[in-house]
Amino acid sequence: MSEQHRSVTLTVNGRTHQFDVPVRRLLSDAIRHDVGLTGTHVGCEHGVCGACTVLMDGRPVRSCLLFAVSADGAAITTVEGLAAADGTRHPVQQAFTECHALQCGFCTPGFLTTIAAALEDNSHPSEEQAEEIISGNLCRCTGYQNIKAAVLRAAELKRAAG
């Protein structure tokens, strides 16, 4: 007996995709396999590690805890969509490189989307706020020192860009 399928329309990084999925397909899997953007990573599938974080209508959410069908019609931003149209990297991507805020890179997309969204709301975070911004994502490689520094540096770059 066949599973129930539904048609889903997602606008991902500005491009609209329509496809059929089994209703239980997680948004993380739909982004990676149906839309074909593999920058969003899956680390736990229970919402704790944050590697799967994408922006849904501008707000960071755990894509492993959403069904694709629940996101039907939404505008999704993934790590691939953070750079500008001309390819200029987002300040947070630039800052991560400058500050050596990544090593293996697996957790990185989840941090980048979360921080990018946070900087929209708060252009001048304090050190304490920078820590709060990254406090929901796990990283096993960096010990977080440089990620915290990258939040502050990203804010600096973003302010300078105007």
């Binding site: 707000r59 069908v69 629940s70 706020q129 406090s135």
Partner: protein, 302 residues
């Protein structure tokens, strides 16, 4: 860790939702925020045949505030309740507790009503409902009923919802005038479930403590409400500081009321010990907040 198959429904009106729920009965689960339900499905700890996604039902995502209470609709996100200044003005305990619920990204999708219905003994909002003497509006195809917090939470992860019913909204009344509140918890990591948590409300009249109550999470199967007034009544409050109120006695009184259990993160005696410590701290903080100029700045963390 992929979820098992289910039949998916996405009603767009409350009537439609209730119709589906009536049809699927015991075989259906409501999907609101999903931050508790989806991990359970991904781990295959449950396999409901039907999921009723209520996120598209019109009119359920509101946060309505009047002079006496805050009413939160079924699909209002934790973040929306947390950031709502009008709600904060009438019942500051909401924001005080919500800041401690998981992490901001989880709060962006998780719903306050959903976490109440989930009835996790460690869920902060259950204590808020209990302490504010709040209630939920339970609706089905045959009508609605209001259920008080005391009757709503039945056991660990169990509320009094019957098949075909859903929680349409939750109402959190304001505290009496002159009441300050606080929510304090101890968790292993920032954002984790609390090993012990206390919501406290202290009413100060004419410079003296006239009432003190607290609700506890993680130390019993459901949130435990304790009246601590006898232990602390009469303590003088001035300039935000309280003298003569024996917060420690309140802590001991609370300790005698709780029945904590041991788990991999904590012994029962440590939990009981925390009840004493956190009661004293929460009451002191709540009493200090009873001063009229106190306000909690909005946390900007994205």
């Amino acid at each position: 860790m992929k979820p098992p198959a289910f039949t998916y429904h996405a009603p767009e009106s409350l009537d439609e939702a209730l119709g589906v729920l009536a049809e699927v009965g015991e075989d259906g689960k409501v999907l609101a925020g999903g931050q508790s339900l989806v991990p359970i499905l991904n781990m295959r700890l449950a396999a409901p045949a039907h999921l009723v996604d209520i996120n598209r039902v019109a009119g359920l995502s509101t946060v309505d505030t009047n002079d006496t209470s805050v009413t939160v609709g079924a699909t209002a996100r934790h973040t929306d309740v947390e950031l709502d200044d009008a709600a904060y003005g009438v019942q500051p305990l909401l924001r005080q507790a919500l800041r401690l619920v998981a992490h901001p990204v989880i709060r962006n999708r998780g719903t306050t009503v959903g976490s109440l219905a989930h009835a996790d003994p460690a869920g902060e909002m259950t204590a808020v409902l209990a302490l504010t003497r709040g209630s939920v509006r339970i609706t089905s195809g045959s009508g609605s009923r209001n259920v008080d917090a005391t009757d709503f939470f039945v056991g660990p992860l169990e509320c009094c919802l019957r098949a075909g019913e859903m929680v349409e909204s939750a109402t959190f009344p304001a505290f009496p005038a002159g009441t300050g509140s606080a929510f304090i918890e101890v968790a292993r990591r920032h954002g984790d479930y609390a090993l012990c948590g206390v919501a406290a409300a202290v009413t100060v009249l004419d410079g003296a403590v006239s009432a003190a109550r607290a609700a506890y999470i993680s130390v019993g199967p459901t949130p435990l409400l304790v009246d601590l007034t006898d232990a602390v009544a009469g303590g003088a409050v001035s300039g935000g500081a309280v003298s003569g109120a024996d917060w420690a006695a309140a802590g001991r009184l609370a300790q005698s009321q709780v029945s904590p259990e041991a788990d991999i993160h904590s012994t029962a005696s440590y939990r009981r010990h925390l009840v004493g410590v956190l009661t004293a701290r929460a009451l002191a903080e709540a009493a200090a907040a009873a001063a009229p100029t106190h306000s909690l700045p909005l946390r900007r963390s994205g």
